[in-house]
Symmetry: C2
């Protein structure tokens, strides 16, 4: 039961973005730029960062939602599962392992990112912009996870919900659109 009155047809973040649309707009725009805008990281790789951070914060809604989207982009659900369990053993590039390690540190506290972590990422070819975006995506999901759980928004139990949400976000992205969640 959410702590404030949210549209009960809109679980998780969707009801919060509907509750206050003026604050929702820049949150959506930032997410669209970071996760869908031009980048040398693929959409699937960026959704993996979102999944790892949400998983670290134990935000069930965000973890399920962004895992679903990552899986759709990557075409293989074993990758996100593996990354959430143990980054070092996951079937992703060495560069992605280094960036996901940085994201995991940021999830706990920005101060936990070390020069050695940054050097390891650069050694594997990570650019300054990739480092920047990894930290900012991890910081953005630290916001989302707290927003969703801090107001006790509803977390659907049915995995099919997240699959439908994933398809909607894959097709339409993060910017506002009319009736986007009508079929959830």
């Amino acid at each position: 039961m959410p702590y404030i009155p949210l549209n009960e047809n809109l679980p998780g973040i969707t009801g919060l973005l509907d509750y206050r649309t003026d604050t929702a707009l820049p949150i959506r725009q930032l997410t669209q730029i970071l996760l869908r805008g031009p980048s040398s990281l693929s959409e699937g790789e960026r959704e993996l960062i979102a999944s790892v951070v949400s998983s670290g914060n134990e935000c069930a809604f965000c973890t399920a939602a962004h895992t679903a989207i990552a899986d759709l982009y990557l075409g293989d659900s074993s990758i996100s599962e593996s990354v959430k369990n143990n980054i070092d053993n996951a079937p992703v590039s060495e560069k992605m392992k280094a960036l996901l390690t940085i994201a995991s540190a940021v999830q706990k506290n920005g101060k936990l990112v070390t020069q050695a972590m940054v050097d390891a990422a650069k050694k594997e070819g990570a650019t300054d912009l990739e480092l920047h975006d990894t930290v900012l995506i991890a910081a953005l999901f630290s916001l989302y996870n707290r927003y969703v759980d801090g107001l006790a928004s509803v977390t659907p139990a049915d995995p099919a919900f997240y699959n439908r949400l994933g398809h909607i976000l894959l097709e339409k992205g993060y910017l506002p659109s009319e009736n986007r969640y009508a079929t959830l």
Copy 2:
């Protein structure tokens, strides 16, 4: 020494917002709406929330900056110091104590907000929108703190820097403007 090349005349968040201006714009807009937009919480009260969260995350730059702005709005630096040390004993309203307690929980993890905390805030007159905004401000500063520290941006040691920054943000707000930091 920051992990990515930032303008060395722009310490803390200022260099990061200058590094990638397309992601900076929605971050600035969200901050302007939440901290300066119409609200039944005063600007000083909202800056206290930012200070408490930044202090909890041990983000020295954000703590010093938002403490300076809160002090300018409140006209009394003992309030922010007191709030950061012990919310329950601070010279703020009972409603603000309850909202700052919620913000402190959000800073650690959204799941730590309890129905009892929310009931306590409502008993002191907190509205649903004030609860929403408190959680979202705390979530936003959880983003800022990680962005600033995760990329090791520079934290000036001189208290006069934060006083100048506070005056600029008091006068101009959080939206972008030309040469706003020229005198830092």
